[in-house]
Amino acid sequence: MSFDWSAITAALPELLQGLDVTILIATAGLIGGTVLGVLTAVGLNYGNWLVVAPAQAYVALIRGTPIVVQVMFIYFALPIMLGIRLSATSAAIITLIVNSGAYTAEIVRGALDGVPVGLKEAGLAMGLSFRRVLAYVIAPIAFRRALPAMGNQVVAVVKDTSIFLVIGVGELTRRGQEIMSENFRAVEIWTAVALIYLVVISLLAYSLRVVERKARLP
């Protein structure tokens, strides 16, 4: 067979539209997931059992089920249970937030745990409230400790968007599948799709390394 470059050129505009959707879902999922994850981690580390128990159940539930099952549940089962309508894109974003939130919670929990107790005591001993100690003493150190694992999480979330093809979200992988089912140029289309992911994720990984380097303690 011959590699038909024109198949890629023809498909590129639509694939890039798919990339837009991928980036939109990933960004919303990451921002929401980070907020949810940090709150969950703070609850896990410093809350009483009324906070800790549901937080633990949430993390266990998400880590113990496949993301495909989660999105199926949120897209098909949840609307029936709650009597609401949910677009595929909304379901995808909610799934990513809930999913990434659980993994982020574990990352942040570990990072908070790793901050030396002495620093917390130094802050408290000055007469700061615990909230201030958390915000101004513990958080800056925990943030740095969480960065490498959070980098992995960011990359994982971007790639996880591809599974939303199962509910018909027009993201990059779904677009590739649709184009291929019309022109049957599997080699060209999947090469193009893979390369687009690779470029985006490499750029992302590089910028994360820059952030990590800038934040490194002297």
């Binding site: 030396p116 002495g118 620093l119 005591e121 130094a122 802050g123 408290l124 001993a125 000055m126 007469g127 700061l128 409230s129 201030r132 101004y136 003493v137 800056p140 150190i141 740095r144 303690l217 002297p218």
Partner: protein, 242 residues
């Protein structure tokens, strides 16, 4: 009114008794040096004063504020009782200057400009004016501990608590820290110092407290106690330290 007053104060960790009912007053201007074998409760006693540990029974008042009061009272006590730790506990992401500015800004609500002025003066005082832009990891242990002392002083406490401030330091670095502490004592700062430095206790201390098994075994003038140990137990302890 005493600066610090233990009234039948006790401390337990579970079933393990660390401090037996303790009665003790430390007055303004005193330099109380606490010594004793490891596990005798020295550090716990100090940590109870600024409520990093909470007493299990009795009462403990700092500047007439009870450590058992609401969290607002606990914060007031901590503002008045500066703490210097064995492991320095400087904030590694901040420079020496920023470490010292931290308390005035965060705990005392000072402006950045005011905090900078306070910090510059204190770093000068501990002899580290030239190092103010260094991070903790770029300073020697002795320098880190001097920054930590400046950081505690910047909150303008009425009493300074030192928890084995030289124990993590090489012998040749201890003197620079002890000298700063001696200067503070000369200036009239009320101090409670847990240490194994007997020379410091003798020269700088106005009072020596010997803790043994969670009990205050001896309490008196450092020179007198060290010259004529009143008990066999104390004599033994001194031999092991020297």
């Amino acid at each position: 009114m005493s600066m610090i007053e233990f009234r039948e104060a006790t401390k337990r960790f579970g079933s393990h008794v660390v401090l037996r009912p303790l009665n003790l007053r430390i007055e303004t201007g005193e330099v109380a040096v606490i010594i004793g074998p490891s596990g005798s409760g020295k550090s716990t006693m100090l940590r109870c004063i600024n409520v990093l540990e909470t007493i299990s029974g009795g009462d403990l008042r700092v500047d007439d504020i009870s450590v058992l009061g609401p969290s607002r009272d606990v914060r007031r006590i901590r503002l008045e009782a500066g703490m210097v730790f064995q492991q320095f506990n400087l904030f590694p992401n901040l420079t020496a200057m920023q470490n010292v500015m931290f308390g005035p800004i965060q705990a005392r609500g000072r402006t950045k400009a005011e905090a900078r002025e306070i910090a510059a003066a204190l770093l000068q005082k501990v002899g580290l004016a030239e190092r103010m832009n260094h991070y903790p990891s770029q300073l020697s242990g002795g320098q880190q501990q001097r920054v930590a002392i400046a950081r505690a002083l910047a909150v303008e406490p009425k009493v300074m608590l030192f928890d084995e401030p030289t124990s993590a330091l090489d012998p040749e670095l201890r003197q620079e820290v002890l000298k700063v502490m001696q200067t503070l004592a000369t200036e009239g700062m009320t101090m409670v110092v847990v240490t194994h430095e007997m020379n410091f206790a003798r020269r700088v201390g106005s009072r020596l407290l010997f803790l043994d098994g969670g009990r205050l075994a001896h309490d008196g003038n450092p020179a007198e106690l060290l010259t004529a140990p009143p008990s066999e137990r104390f004599r033994e302890f001194l031999q092991h330290v020297d």
